[in-house]
C-alpha cells in the first residue's frame, strides 16, 4: 500500500504526530486539562474505531456498542472492588467477558437485518444497562468508584497522567493497526463483500453468518478494552456509560469522521469531543449546534470529514 499525499492522509499524519507530542506540550505549558481531555478522546477513538470495523466495513449498524464500554469497565471495577487489583487479571477478564457478551448478542441479533438489527442491538444494550443498575452490591444506579487503578507489577503506573495517556494512545494505535490488517486480510475482504452483497457472497461459497459474527465479536472485544481504559481514566464506572445515547455518540463519531475510513473514528472523536467541550462552555444547549452540524455532514459529505478531504477511498 503506497502512501498517497492527499489532504486526508496529511491530516491523519499531523493528528497522529500531535497526539504523540501532546504530553510534551502539556508539560511545557503546564496545561493539564488538555492532557485529560485528550486521554478521554483517545479512549473514545478506540471505541469508535471498533464500531467502525463493524459499521463501516461490516455494514452492521449496531446501536448498542456502548454496552461493551460498560462491560469492560465493570469487569475492572468489580474485580477491583473484590480486591483483585492486577491489570493482568482485570484486563483479560474485561476482554473475555466483552467477547462472550458479543458472541451471545451477535449470534441472536445477526439473524435479523436492517432496522430490526438496530433495534435488537439497542435492546440488548439497554438490558445490560438495567442489569448494571440493579447491581446494588456494586453501586447500582449510582455507579461504582474505583479506588485504585489497575496495577501492572510496576511495569507501568496508570496513576501517572503521562504514562496512562501513552498507554491509551498505544492501545489506540495498536487497535487501528489491527483493524487495518483485518480489513485487508482474507477475512476482512469477506466481511466487506458481505456488506456489499450478501446473496452474492453466499452464492460463491461463503457462509456469511459466521464471518459477520466473528467480526461482531472482534469489534466488541476491542471496545471492551476501551471500556477498561475508560474506567481507569475516570476511576469510576456507572450504568450511564452503557446508556443508549452513549451508543449514539459513538455512531456520531464514526459518521462524522468517515465511515469505512481507518482513521475516520479518530478524527470524528476529536471533532465531537472538542466541540462538545468548547460549545458547552458557551451554552448548555450545545447539542443544538452539534445536531445541525451532523445533519450537514450526513447530507453533503457521505464519507464524513475524511471523505470530504480525500477523494480516494482507503488510499
Amino acid at each position: 500500500m503506497k502512501f498517497k499525499l492527499n489532504a486526508s492522509n496529511v491530516l491523519v499524519a499531523v493528528v497522529c504526530a500531535a497526539l504523540v507530542l501532546l504530553p510534551v506540550y502539556s508539560a511545557v505549558t503546564g496545561n493539564i486539562f488538555i492532557l485529560t481531555l485528550f486521554t478521554r478522546i483517545v479512549i473514545f477513538a478506540l471505541a469508535a474505531s471498533s464500531l467502525n470495523l463493524m459499521m463501516g466495513y461490516g455494514g452492521m449498524m449496531s446501536f448498542g456498542h456502548a454496552a461493551y464500554l460498560g462491560i469492560g469497565g465493570y469487569a475492572v471495577g468489580i474485580l477491583a472492588a473484590e480486591g483483585i487489583g492486577s491489570g493482568f487479571i482485570q484486563w483479560p477478564v474485561a476482554l473475555a467477558v466483552s467477547a462472550l457478551f458479543a458472541l451471545v448478542i451477535g449470534s441472536l441479533s445477526l439473524r435479523t437485518r436492517g432496522v430490526y438489527f438496530i433495534m435488537i442491538t439497542l435492546a440488548f444494550a439497554q438490558m445490560a444497562y438495567y442489569v448494571a443498575s440493579a447491581l446494588s452490591r456494586y453501586g447500582g444506579d449510582d455507579g461504582l468508584t474505583i479506588y485504585k487503578r489497575s496495577t501492572f507489577d510496576g511495569l507501568i503506573n496508570l496513576s501517572d497522567r503521562t504514562q496512562f495517556y501513552y498507554l491509551c494512545l498505544a492501545c489506540l494505535f495498536g487497535g487501528v493497526y489491527l483493524i487495518w490488517r483485518i480489513v485487508n486480510s482474507r477475512f476482512g475482504l469477506v466481511v466487506q463483500g458481505v456488506r456489499s452483497n450478501e446473496q452474492r457472497m453466499q452464492a460463491i461459497g461463503f457462509p456469511a453468518y459466521r464471518y459477520r459474527l466473528t467480526c461482531f465479536v472482534i469489534a466488541g472485544t476491542i471496545c471492551g478494552l476501551a471500556g477498561a481504559l475508560l474506567a481507569n481514566n475516570t476511576d469510576f464506572v456507572s450504568p450511564a456509560v452503557m446508556y443508549w445515547t452513549r451508543s449514539g455518540e459513538l455512531m456520531v463519531m464514526v459518521i462524522l469522521g468517515g465511515m469505512g475510513w481507518l482513521f475516520g473514528p479518530l478524527i470524528g472523536a476529536i471533532v465531537f469531543l472538542v466541540l462538545e467541550e468548547l460549545l458547552s462552555q458557551f451554552t448548555e444547549y450545545w447539542a443544538l449546534i452539534m445536531g445541525p452540524l451532523l445533519v450537514l455532514i450526513v447530507l453533503f459529505a457521505r464519507g464524513g470529514i475524511m471523505g470530504l478531504l480525500g477523494r480516494v477511498r482507503r488510499g
Binding site: 483485518i182 486480510s185 482474507r186 475482504l189 452483497n197 453466499q202 452464492a203 460463491i204
Partner: protein, 259 residues
C-alpha cells in the same frame, strides 16, 4: 449411461396459492448445454434459485454429482461446484473487477478465517482471478470498480466470477439480459467456448441464442415442463407453439425460430 450431473425429481415450490414449480423433473448429463425457456412467469428463476439453494423447495429432491443437495445451503453447493450467474447483475459494486473474481477464488481455497496477511497480495488468488477475467475478455479492466463497468462488462464479469469458483456446473440466469446486438454476439461466442469445458444450464429469453447453443431445451409453462427435447424437435412441438403464441413477439427480438 452414467449418472447425470444434475438430477431434479418431482420438485414443488408454492408461493401462497401459486405453484411456481409444479412437480418438475429434469436431468442434465455431464457435458450438456441445457437451455430452459418459457414465457415470463414460467418459474425459470424460481427453479434456478432452488437449484442453487437460495430458495428451498416444498418437496422433491435435487441430486448434484451423485449427492442429495436438496437441503444444503447455497454456500455448500457452491463448494461442491455449482456456480450461478444472476439475472439481475449481482456483483460487489464497490469492489474492483479483479477483487470480485479473486473473492470467488478465495471462497474455494480453504477457509477465510485469516486475519493478518494481505489477501490482495496472495499471488495464486490473483492469478486465478486474472485468468478468469482474460477468459471473458475483461483482462484490461481488472482494476476498474464494478460500478464503473458498462452493463455488458458486468454481465461478462458475472461469468468470470462463476468461472473462478472452478465449477462443475454453470447455472446462467439470462446472461444476455439487456445486452445490445454486438454484446450479445460476444456473449454467444464466449458461451460457445465455455460449453466445451463446462456443463451449462442456461435460462435465456434470446431464442436465437438458445437455439444456436443448446443441446437440449426444456420448456416451462406455469412451473411445469411441457417439453424437453433437442432444438429441432422443440421447434416442431405443437404444445410449445401454442404456449408461445401471442407472446412470441415479446420473446423473440430478431428472427422467429419457433414456428
Amino acid at each position: 449411461m452414467a449418472d447425470p450431473l444434475l438430477r431434479v425429481d418431482n420438485l414443488v415450490r408454492r408461493f401462497g396459492g401459486i405453484l411456481a414449480t409444479d412437480n418438475l423433473s429434469l436431468e442434465v448429463p455431464r457435458g450438456e448445454l441445457h437451455a430452459i425457456i418459457g414465457p415470463n412467469g414460467a418459474g425459470k428463476t424460481t427453479l434456478i434459485s432452488q437449484l442453487t439453494g437460495q430458495l428451498m423447495p416444498n418437496s422433491g429432491t435435487i441430486h448434484f454429482a451423485g449427492r442429495d443437495v436438496t437441503r444444503l445451503p447455497s454456500y455448500r453447493r457452491s463448494r461442491l461446484g455449482l456456480a450461478r450467474s444472476f439475472q439481475i447483475t449481482s456483483l460487489l459494486k464497490d469492489f474492483t473487477a479483479i477483487d470480485n473474481v479473486a473473492l470467488a477464488a478465495q471462497a474455494h481455497d480453504g477457509h477465510s478465517f485469516r486475519f493478518w496477511g494481505n489477501a490482495r497480495k496472495e499471488r495464486h488468488l490473483r492469478d486465478t482471478a486474472r485468468a478468469a477475467l482474460e477468459r471473458v475478455g475483461l483482462g484490461s479492466r481488472a482494476d476498474v470498480l464494478v460500478s464503473e463497468l458498462s452493463h455488458g462488462e458486468q454481465r461478462e464479469l458475472e461469468l468470470a466470477v462463476a468461472l473462478a469458483t472452478k465449477p462443475q456446473l454453470l447455472l446462467l440466469d439470462e446472461p444476455m439480459a439487456g445486452l445490445g446486438v454486438i454484446e450479445s454476439a460476444r456473449m454467444v461466442a464466449l458461451l460457445k467456448e465455455l460449453r466445451k469445458e463446462f456443463t451449462i444450464v442456461l435460462v435465456e429469453h434470446d431464442m436465437e441464442a438458445v437455439f444456436a447453443l443448446a443441446d437440449r431445451i426444456t420448456v416451462l409453462v406455469y412451473g411445469r415442463v411441457i417439453a424437453c427435447d433437442t432444438p429441432d424437435a422443440i421447434r416442431r412441438h405443437e404444445e410449445v407453439k401454442r404456449a408461445y403464441l401471442g407472446e412470441q413477439h415479446a420473446v423473440t427480438r430478431q428472427g422467429d425460430p419457433i414456428g
